[in-house]
């Protein structure tokens, strides 16, 4: 194991420059002192010349010895420092590879070799072989490799990718990359790429999502049964046999809905996890009819809010219908949760410059500016711990973002406390509309 270079432990005056200064001062004193002594002690000019020559040789010898010591010490420090860095790279669990602008990988640590399946391949390796076609971005889009982007001066932060090892096995990896500059210059002299094998992590996440999904499915049927029986009972005896029975039905029904919502959110967590895994283009969906139906469903669920829907023309998008409905449902649920009874919730779908836009606007309590930046983070609840906390698991907006990202869309949220919130879904136009 290499040691950390012990630069810090040495006294400051022992640095190469202070040694050189000391040497210059000592040399100057030596020349002056020895000249004066020679003048005083040796009268014969011939003998004095011989002594002066001898003195010169001693000076040259001492200088050479000192230079030798200084260079040896510096070289050893450099070697130590390089060994130290190499040792860090060797023992890292993350793979590190360094590329040059001419497209060659000049260095990669053992972890990178293991992750990429490049054991025993001699350096340098053409970057195309390492970061070329084999490295496919997880949404399958045309994509410059992280190294290419680093070489063009970009910093790449934690992206998911898949890597096909020479044996055909596919590893799931996380990649970051950064350009390398030579000291004090603006030109990129190389790029460093950091890779992490997350196959195992992803496998466990998939197992967790599958478990959540199964558990939610299993819970849904008994909840549906209890809810159905409560409704049957309510129908039989709307007020109950006793005055308090009617109230009991109400409570049962309300709590059933609450359990149903939690179960739904558990299912959504699992879906959010799987959203990134799905591939392939979904079939086209006509948005107007689908949203109109959704709006009427919500009018039934929230009779005390005025839910209005505007859409001028049929709009076709390529996105899973269930997933889109889930996104809009989540936004509508939030709008209902955080707006007063009697207020209006407006759902609008229209063509927009970059594709299609669906907005959900409410007249609710809004979100404080300092909490807006965290919206959409998994398990984040903007109103957690406040009087407005309406429960839930904090996955709704996270799911929305994940599902939209999968379809090349995104979500923006504008909100002013006390005035309301507008959530906007931006979707790319359908293939037909583009061609």
């Amino acid at each position: 194991m290499g040691r950390a270079p012990d630069v810090q432990s040495r006294p400051r005056w022992l640095s190469p420059s202070s040694i050189a200064l000391l040497y210059a001062a000592a040399g100057w004193l030596w020349i002056l002192g020895s000249d004066w002594l020679t003048l005083q002690l040796i009268a014969d000019p011939g003998t004095r010349a011989q002594v002066q020559t001898l003195k010169g040789w001693v000076y040259v010898g001492a200088t050479a010895l000192l230079l030798h010591l200084l260079i040896r010490r510096s070289t050893r420090a450099l070697q130590q420092s390089e060994e130290y860095v190499r040792e860090i790279l060797r023992s890292m669990a993350e793979g590190v590879l360094v590329g040059t602008p001419d497209g060659m990988i000049t260095d990669l640590n053992p972890a990178a070799r293991t992750i990429l399946g490049l054991e025993g391949v001699a350096l340098p390796i053409p970057a195309k072989r390492v970061c070329g076609e084999a490295l496919v971005h997880d949404n399958g889009s045309e994509w410059k490799t992280p190294l290419e982007r680093a070489l063009s001066g970009q910093v790449v932060r934690t992206e998911q990718a898949q890597w096909r090892r020479p044996g055909g096995e596919v590893a799931e990896i996380e990649v970051s990359a950064a350009p390398l500059y030579s000291r004090g210059e603006d030109t990129v002299t190389g790029g460093v790429v950091l890779i992490r094998d997350v196959s195992e992590h992803r496998r466990l996440a998939r197992a967790r999502d599958a478990f959540l999904s199964d558990a939610a499915h299993e819970l849904k049927t008994p909840v549906a049964t209890i809810k159905a029986w409560v409704q049957v009972l309510q129908r039989w005896t709307p007020q109950g046999h006793e005055p308090r029975e009617g109230q009991a039905f109400e409570v049962l029904s309300r709590q059933c809905d609450r359990v149903a919502r939690i179960v739904e959110q558990l299912l959504q967590i699992s879906l959010a996890g799987r959203a990134a895994e799905k591939a392939g283009a979904p079939p086209p969906v006509e948005l107007r009819a689908s949203l109109e139906e959704l709006a009427s469903r919500f009018r039934l669920l929230a009779p005390r809010r005025r839910i209005v829907f505007h859409c001028e023309e049929p709009l076709v998008v390529h996105a899973g219908r269930d997933e889109l409905e889930m996104v809009v449902s989540n936004l509508l649920e939030n709008a209902i949760k955080f707006s007063p009874e009697g207020s209006t919730i407006e759902v609008t779908a229209s063509r927009a410059p970059g594709g299609i836009e669906v907005s959900v606007r409410d007249e609710g309590i809004g979100i404080p500016p300092d909490r807006q930046e965290h919206l959409g983070e998994r398990y984040y609840k903007a109103h957690a711990g406040t009087a407005q906390d309406a429960g839930g698991l904090g996955v709704g907006l996270y799911l929305c973002r994940e599902l939209l990202r999968r379809h090349g869309g995104h979500l923006t949220i504008e909100s002013a406390p006390g005035e309301g919130t507008t959530a906007r879904i931006h979707l790319p136009p359908s293939e037909e509309a583009r061609s």
Binding site: H217, K227, A228, L300, D322, M326
Partner: protein
């Protein structure tokens, strides 16, 4: 008034649905899995089939395929599922409608009224 076949392997749920439909004047029949549902259909073609997908025995997918094969679109099928992607499940067997579990029984009634087969209703009633 419609003849509705409720197919679900959860007896408690199908009984509740049947009771609710009965309260509203419909004539429900029940089946515990796809195979039993096919027998009920054989006895009499219902006006609408409420179909659970994940069932022990013959599941909803197999029933849907078999029903379409034998009777085509003789009765509309409404998929009742706990899956998050109810619409996609309904598409898989080309169903006419879908409901996600847990559902509101009023929502169920509305779906029944909207989709139930009317062919056998007397002409003057329409």
């Amino acid at each position: 008034m419609s003849d509705v076949l409720v197919v679900d392997d959860d007896e408690d749920l199908r009984t509740a649905i049947a009771l609710f439909l009965q309260q509203d004047g419909h004539v429900p029949r029940t089946a515990g899995d796809g195979a039993e549902a096919l027998v009920r259909v054989e006895e009499k073609m219902p006006d609408l089939i409420l179909l659970d997908m994940r069932m022990r025995g013959m599941n909803g997918w197999d029933f849907g395929r078999e029903f379409r094969l034998r009777y085509g679109r003789a009765a509309p099928i409404v998929v009742v599922t706990a899956a998050a992607d109810a619409y996609a499940r309904a598409q898989e067997i080309d169903a006419e409608g879908w409901l996600g579990k847990p559902f509101d029984l009023d929502q169920l009634l509305e779906t029944v009224v909207r989709l139930a087969r009317r062919a056998e209703a007397p002409p003057e009633a329409r």
